[in-house]
C-alpha cells in the first residue's frame, strides 16, 4: 500500500497544474507529502497541543523506515504516561507500559491510499501556499511555507521543509481564529535507516492485549444495508469540502461513518440507530436549541463535537471547523425535539439550568 501512495502522489506531482506550471511552493508541498515514502530517519520531536484544558506537551522518539514502518515512543511527560506505537505496515500496536495494556489493530489499509493524494489536490485548490523564508530546524536548512485558506473560517498551516530531503521538520497548525492549535518540531534528526528489529513488537508477559477492529471501507448502498437505515451523505457542505471516505464502524451497534475534507480541515459524521424512546447524549455536552429541536455541543482535543437526533438516528459531527458551521449542517439535516412530553420538559429544564448557571458563572 505504501507503493500505492507513492504512485498516487507521483501521478499528482507529474500532472500539469491547470493553466500553469506548478509554483515552487507547490513543488515543496508535493515533495513534503512524498518524503516519508522516500526517506528513513531517527529523531526526537516535541509536540504541543492546545485545547480548552490548556497546553499538553509530549516528547516523542521516532524511528521511521521509508514506506515500511514507524515506531513512536512518547516519553512520560506532564502527567502523561509513556506510550509506544509500533506500525510495521500490516499491524499497529499501541502499548502503555504503566497501565499494562496493549491494543492491536490493522495498519492503514490499501483503501486509505487514494485520499492522501486527493487531499493534497484539494489543499492546493482551497488553500494558498507561500514561501515565507528559510530557517534552520534541528541544525538543518529548511524552507518555511505558510498555507493560508482561500476563504475565512478555516485553519492555516505553517511548515518548515528540509531543503535536502523534503521532510517536514517543524509544523504549526492554527485555528481559523489565528490561535495555535498544534505545534511540533524535531530537536534532533539523523537520516539513517533504523534497524528492522525496532518495528517488531511483542507485548511483555502479563500485559492485557485487546484487538481493535478497523472501520471497514464501503460504498453508501452497502453501508445502508449494514446499518439498517439510509445514512445521510451531506450534500450542502461548508465551502471547499467534499465527501472523502465512507466506512462502517462499531463493534456492537453498527455506525455509519462519512468523512469530508477541504484538503486540510476534516469533518466526520457518525450515524447510529437508537432504541425507540431512548435518547443518546454527548458526555459533558452543552445543550443548545437548534432549529425546531435541541442538540449538544462540546469542544474536545481541538475539535468541535455536535450531537443530535433525527428520526431515530443519533448523529455526531466531529471536525476542526467552527461550531457555527456544524450547527448549520445540523439544521439543514433536521433536528428532533426530545421525544415525549416528560423528556421534552426535562430537556428544556436542563437547558434552562445550563443557561442560568452559565449566566451565573
Amino acid at each position: 500500500m505504501r507503493i500505492g501512495v507513492a504512485v498516487a502522489l507521483a501521478l499528482l506531482a507529474a500532472a500539469p497544474a491547470v493553466g500553469a506550471e506548478r509554483s515552487p511552493q507547490e513543488r515543496w508541498l508535493l515533495s513534503a507529502a512524498t518524503a516519508p515514502r522516500r526517506v528513513s530517519f531517527t529523531g526526537v520531536k516535541d509536540v504541543i497541543l492546545w485545547s480548552e484544558a490548556g497546553a499538553q506537551g509530549s516528547t516523542v522518539e521516532i524511528a521511521h523506515r521509508a514506506a515500511t514502518g514507524v515506531r513512536l515512543t512518547y516519553r512520560s511527560t506532564l502527567g502523561r504516561a509513556q506510550r509506544i506505537v509500533v506500525d510495521d505496515g500490516r499491524r499497529r500496536w499501541q502499548y502503555e507500559p504503566s497501565a499494562h495494556v496493549a491494543l492491536i489493530s490493522p495498519s492503514i489499509t490499501e483503501e486509505d491510499v487514494p485520499p492522501s493524494a486527493r487531499r493534497l489536490g484539494l489543499l492546493l485548490a482551497n488553500y494558498r501556499p507561500t514561501i515565507v523564508g528559510r530557517e534552520p530546524v534541528a541544525g538543518r536548512r529548511a524552507v518555511a511555507l505558510l498555507v493560508r485558506p482561500r476563504t475565512d473560517a478555516r485553519p492555516s498551516l505553517k511548515l518548515w521543509v528540509d531543503e535536502a530531503t523534503g521532510l517536514i521538520l517543524r509544523t504549526e497548525l492554527y485555528h481559523a481564529n489565528g490561535r495555535l492549535a498544534e505545534a511540533s518540531a524535531f530537536t534532533r534528526i539523523d537520516f539513517v535507516s533504523p534497524p528492522e528489529s525496532l518495528f517488531r513488537f511483542r507485548p511483555p508477559a502479563g500485559v492485557t492485549v485487546r484487538a481493535v477492529a478497523a472501520s471497514t471501507p464501503m460504498g453508501l448502498p452497502d453501508l445502508a444495508r449494514r446499518v439498517g437505515f439510509t445514512p445521510i451523505a451531506l450534500e450542502r457542505l461548508p465551502d471547499g469540502f467534499v465527501l472523502d471516505r465512507v466506512r462502517l464502524a462499531g463493534s456492537g451497534t453498527p455506525v455509519a461513518v462519512t468523512q469530508y475534507t477541504d484538503g486540510l480541515a476534516t469533518l466526520t459524521l457518525f450515524q447510529r440507530r437508537v432504541t425507540p424512546g431512548s435518547r443518546s447524549s454527548l458526555p459533558a455536552g452543552r445543550p443548545i436549541p437548534l432549529g425546531a429541536g435541541a442538540a449538544e455541543l462540546r469542544r474536545f482535543d481541538g475539535a468541535n463535537v455536535l450531537h443530535w437526533q433525527r428520526n431515530g438516528v443519533a448523529l455526531t459531527l466531529v471536525g476542526e471547523v467552527p461550531a457555527a458551521e456544524l450547527t448549520k449542517i445540523a439544521v439543514r439535516i433536521g433536528v428532533d425535539a426530545p421525544p415525549g412530553l416528560l423528556s421534552r420538559l426535562r430537556y428544556w429544564l436542563l437547558l434552562l439550568w445550563e443557561r442560568l448557571t452559565a449566566a451565573v458563572a
Binding site: 513512536l72 472501520s215 475534507t261 482535543d301
Partner: protein
Amino acid sequence: MSAHAGEQLSEWIDGHLNPDAAAQVAAHVDVCDRCRQEVDDLRRVRTLLRRVEAPSLRPAFWARLEAHVAKERERLARRQIWRRALLPAAVAAGALGFAFLPAGKVPLNLDSYLHEHAQYRALHPLTDSAVATLVGTDASLRVLRDSLGRHEAEP
C-alpha cells in the same frame, strides 16, 4: 523527600519555591530518575513554547485594553445583580429536572468516535502524524480502560 516531587517541579523550574523547598526538590531530583526526566521534559516543552513568536503590540493596544477592562468590570457588576436574582430559580429548575423526571439518556461512546476521526486526520500527508497519533491513542486507550473497568465490575 520520599515521594516524587510532582507539581513542585514546575514551580522549582520557575524559581517560585522558597529556599528550603527548592533545596529539598533539588536534592530529590539529583537522586530520582523519574523526576529528573520530568524536569528535562518540562524544560523542553518550555523551550518549544518560547519559540512561538509573540505578536508585536500596536501603540493603541493599551488604551483599547483599558477600555475593554472597564467594560468587562461593568458587565461583571451587572452579572452580580443577575446572579442574586437567578440563582434560586436555577437551583429550583435543576432540582425539578433531576429529581422528578425520568432520565432515559444513553451516553455516547465519544472516545471511539474521536479515535476514528483522529485516524482520518493522521492520513493527511502534511499534518503531523505524531500529534494525530497521540490524540488517537489517547482516545483508544481510554476506550480500553473503560472496557476493562466494565469487565471487572461485571459479576
